[in-house]
């Protein structure tokens, strides 16, 4: 099981739908892809959709936090949605709930950002 990422851009928001396992190994190429897209398209906000993520460890938290620091510099917002039971505990432990915007799904994320 590895990781696949479906990425799309709407206005200045990058949507990242993850399927599979996000660990140190799979986070390397994901980080590179996200960084180059964010530069190229002047991305302000990022929405992570974790619905089909079956595993995540602290390396995954590192990827999300790293992107959070980037969008903060752009005065943008990072949203995480569709948190499933398999990754809920690690997200809770990491304190992400306290600093990130969490929404139920992408629609809610869109209306939060006001780009719907």
């Amino acid at each position: 099981m590895s990781l696949s990422a479906y990425l799309y851009i709407r206005a200045d928001t990058l949507f990242v739908r993850l399927t599979g396992e996000l660990d140190h190994h799979t986070s390397k190429s994901l980080r590179d892809r996200l960084n180059s897209l964010m530069m190229e398209y002047d991305i302000k906000n990022i929405v992570f959709n974790l619905k089909n993520l079956t595993f995540m460890d602290s390396s995954g938290i590192g990827v999300i936090l790293g992107r959070y620091h980037y969008v903060k510099q752009q005065k943008g917002t990072l949203i995480v949605c569709e948190i499933n039971s398999q990754i809920e505990k690690i997200i809770q432990l990491s304190g992400l709930y306290k600093i990130l915007v969490i929404t139920k799904d992408e629609d809610q994320a869109l209306s939060y950002l006001g780009v719907a």
């Binding site: 396992e21 660990d23 460890d57 390396s59 590192g62 505990k89 432990l93």
Partner: protein, 147 residues
């Protein structure tokens, strides 16, 4: 029924082996019928430990990681060993959010997560010799049931 089992596996310190190590431990504990949460926690513990060996122990250079898996009834013991550079200050490494490699977007949560997801957590390290992480976890499974 009294259940006891032992296995060990040695693999290269390569990041693709993080997923391999998780699958091995999941397969090993399968006869104990762990809950999904317990399985997930065991996989996370292994993932954090092996990642640490690769990034910190060997600093992405060549090396071997040894994983020893044991259970005795509902108690699982996992030992992850590397022969890398070792940790200078174990107490500092155990602090939440401390990382020796902030430039690599490490969250500094690995050891804390292992501690929280296990019932007993031990780490010992010697500079230049390597690091041993040992965790014990008690499953909620009823081991009176026949396997």
């Amino acid at each position: 029924m009294f259940r006891r089992n032992y296995a060990e596996v040695v693999f290269d310190a390569l990041s693709q082996n993080e997923a391999f190590a998780r699958m091995v431990v999941a397969g090993f504990v399968m006869p104990l019928d762990p809950t999904l949460d317990e399985l997930n926690e065991l996989k996370t513990i292994v993932s954090e430990a092996v990642t640490n060996s690769i990034i910190h122990g060997y600093e992405n250079k060549k090396g071997k990681v040894k994983m020893i898996m044991e259970y005795e009834n509902e108690w699982i013991t996992l030992t992850i060993i590397d022969y890398g550079k070792g940790i200078e200050d174990v107490n500092k490494a155990r602090e939440l959010f401390y990382t020796s490699k902030p430039e690599e977007e490490r969250s500094g949560m690995g050891l804390t997560i292992m501690e929280i997801f296990s019932d007993e957590f031990y780490i010992s390290s010697k500079l230049g010799e390597g690091t041993v992480v040992k965790v014990r976890k008690k499953l909620t499974c009823s081991c009176e049931d026949d396997a």
